[in-house]
């Protein structure tokens, strides 16, 4: 951004320059008017229709007109800063000539250029014009002394004519200078305000940009295509209070949400960013959607000095099974379009909105998505959209759009947005509008395996072989199978060697093999031992028993959890994307 000071004077210069051009045009118009006036008088006089007691005075009228005409013409060919001088000098000169030949005792005619000069909002210019006018006035007094007023004494001319007229001119000059000065102050203020406004507009545009970047991409599919979604957010003003979001709550849960902040414009946009971050942050740690909402609500209350709140509909969908848990915080119920085309509303008794009530205890409800089911989330900007006749789009209309032929989420989402646009018939949007469509593509049933074997060396290869067989059946590459073998070997051998101190005991292994992941649980009833607390070995520690194996495992799996429950060590590991 430019330095404010520099931009300031640049802008002011521009404004004054523009004003000068306008004032020149106006002055020119006045001069042209006078020019035409003299021409008409001259013609009338020539034709004998207008007589004055000065003989041949039509020539004088023509002379006056020509002075003004030359001024206007000359002014056209020079820069606008010089143009005003040419115009004004021509004007004053014509005044002087006029004053010489006709009995015009009034100074009125000299005051006109002074008044006119105010249009330039330039004190100096008004003063200079006043001085020029006064000089010409004195010259005419001297000239007239030698002609028409010869009969009057010098004293009379000075005290009864020149002095009072000088005072009139001086007062006019004082008043006009003041007005020009005040005008300039206003112009400066206005240009500063204009600059501030344009800066604010820039900032709002920038905020809108930041905000739209903060929303995730409008298209998303989970790593193995279990689910896909498409979203759209159309703000009513430049910045919006609506938003959509999606994120993985844990390895197998896709969270999707739409939300609507209670206000519009910049304050709502700021609250929206805060709400979005709070929910994302809360969802990271929370085990369930209701816990995420409860945490997000607390965070939002801390940061909410205004009286804003946010309604939202959040749902966590298990990408393996399609089981969806949701929380409705004062939001509109989404539409579930089943694979067979049937439309269902996901309705429940909504919980309170977020950001106001500390005591909010959201409840989660659930529903089951089957292969091909599509869920449509939306904000009230969709249903409340009005057309030029004041009718709202309405839920019925929205359901009708959903009832159409089966299409993918892209077309479903775009179709809703398009239908609302068509309905509005060009009427402006009053409220932000958000739509998110998500589809569940696959119910994958994982392979489960459970073994309970004596904690003996020969059991290790049994476990490895059994799991390998299943891995082969789901096309796990040989390379990945080898790595998984190492993991099983390290953990099982650890149990065999250390869990029971040479006594007999059992080890249980549970495996869950999905389309692109393996989850294994190892249990033993031996002495309590948390392998996660084993430090990463340094080079010298490589000889120490135990450390290296767990280090290897840790590096080979995506996540590893340990708990000691009911007298059993339970180590759970997950390896994704084999």
């Amino acid at each position: 951004m430019k330095k404010p000071g520099i931009t300031d004077s640049f802008l002011l210069k521009d404004v004054l320059k523009k004003n000068e051009v306008h004032a020149n045009r106006y002055s020119e118009r006045i001069v042209i008017f006078l020019f035409l006036f003299y021409v008409v008088i001259a013609v009338l006089n020539y034709l004998g229709l207008y007589e004055r007691d000065v003989p041949d005075n039509y020539q004088i009228y023509f002379a006056l007109a020509s002075i003004l005409g030359v001024g206007v013409l000359a002014g056209r060919f020079i820069p606008s800063s010089a143009q005003k001088w040419v115009l004004f000098v021509a004007f004053i000169l014509s005044n002087a000539v006029c004053r010489c030949f006709f009995y015009v005792f009034s100074t009125l005619i000299y005051t006109i250029p002074i008044f006119l000069s105010v249009a330039y909002y330039n004190k100096k210019f008004t003063w200079r014009i006043s001085i020029v006018a006064w000089c010409f006035f004195l010259a005419t007094v001297a000239f007239v002394r030698n002609t028409h007023l010869a009969s009057h004494s010098i004293e009379f001319i000075l005290f009864a004519s020149a002095l009072p007229q000088t005072i009139v001119l001086l007062l006019s000059a004082l008043v006009c200078t003041r007005i020009a000065g005040l005008g300039r102050v206003l112009v400066v203020k206005q240009s500063k305000n204009a600059q501030k406004i344009s800066q604010m507009e820039q900032e709002i545009a920038l905020s809108a940009h930041i905000q739209s970047n903060a929303l995730p991409l409008p298209e998303y599919a989970t790593a193995n295509g279990e689910m896909s979604l498409k979203a759209a957010m159309i703000p009513a003003k430049e910045v919006a209070g609506d938003f959509y979001d999606y994120f993985m709550i844990n390895d197998f849960t896709l969270g999707v949400l739409v939300a609507d902040v209670s206000d519009k414009g910049v304050p709502a946009a700021m609250f929206m960013m805060s709400a979005r971050n709070s929910i994302r942050y809360a969802a990271q740690d929370a085990k369930t959607v209701e816990e995420a909402i409860r945490i997000a609500n607390k965070l939002l209350i801390q940061n909410n000095d205004g009286d804003m709140f946010v309604t939202l509909w959040l749902c966590g969908i298990d990408i393996r099974t399609g089981l969806a848990h949701y929380v409705n915080a004062g939001h509109l119920p989404p539409i579930l379009k089943r694979a067979n085309g049937r439309i269902e509303m996901i309705e429940n008794e909504p919980d309170l909105f977020l950001g106001v009530f500390e005591s909010m205890e959201p409840r989660a409800y659930f529903f089951q998505m089957q292969k091909g089911d599509q869920l449509l989330l939306y904000t009230d900007g969709v249903t409340d959209a009005e057309n030029i006749y004041g009718a709202s789009f309405g839920l019925g209309h929205l359901i009708q759009v959903c009832r159409g032929d089966r299409v993918d989420v892209d077309l479903l989402c775009d179709g809703v947005v398009k239908a609302v646009h068509e309905f509005r018939e060009g009427r402006e949007i009053f409220d932000d509008m958000t739509v998110l469509a998500v589809e569940f593509h696959e119910n994958f049933v994982p392979i489960y395996l459970k073994m309970d074997l004596p904690a003996k060396q020969e059991s290790v290869s049994k476990v490895i072989d059994a799991i390998n067989e299943k891995l082969e059946s789901v096309d796990c590459s040989e390379e990945n199978r080898k790595i998984i073998d190492v993991v099983i070997d390290e953990i099982c051998v650890n149990i065999v060697d250390y869990a029971y101190d040479g006594q007999d005991g059992n080890m249980e292994v549970e495996a869950e093999i999905g389309p692109n992941y393996i989850k294994m649980k190892f249990l033993d009833s031996g002495k309590e031992f948390n392998p996660l607390l084993v430090k990463e070995p340094s080079e010298d520690d490589l000889l120490v028993e135990g450390g290296l194996g767990i280090h290897l495992v840790r590096n080979m799996v995506g996540s590893m959890e340990y708990e000691y429950r009911d007298g059993k060590n339970c180590l759970t590991i997950l390896r994704k994307n084999y």
């Binding site: 060396q457 390379e479 080898k482 073998d485 051998v493 000889l543 194996g549 290897l552 080979m556």
Partner: protein
């Protein structure tokens, strides 16, 4: 596990066959115990026929390395998952693994 060794140009070349895991690591350990003398300058472990190495196997090799007092051990013909085990153990810095 089968272990075959030979002296080639001053290097002790050890070819292994089988799995190098908790059950077999001791066999290699015993082999090193017997054969680490002053007659060679370095050890080359041929892993062509090894498709599995666990942390115990690695520990035996590290123990041998320490006994050698600076004489290098290199590992040749290892497959990608075996290489991965060495990489994850941070041993690329210590052994030349190919």
């Amino acid at each position: 596990m089968q272990i075959e060794s030979s002296l080639e140009n001053g290097a002790l070349k050890v070819a292994l066959d089988g799995r190098l895991d908790s059950t077999t690591a001791d066999e290699l350990g015993a082999f090193f115990e017997k054969n680490l003398d002053d007659k060679f300058t370095n050890i080359i472990l041929d892993f062509e026929k090894i498709d599995f190495v666990s942390s115990k196997g690695i520990r035996v090799i590290v123990a041998a390395y320490k006994k050698l007092g600076g004489r290098p051990i290199s590992i040749v013909n290892s497959n990608s998952s075996v290489k991965e085990v060495f990489r994850l153990s941070g041993l690329f810095k210590v052994f030349d693994v190919k």
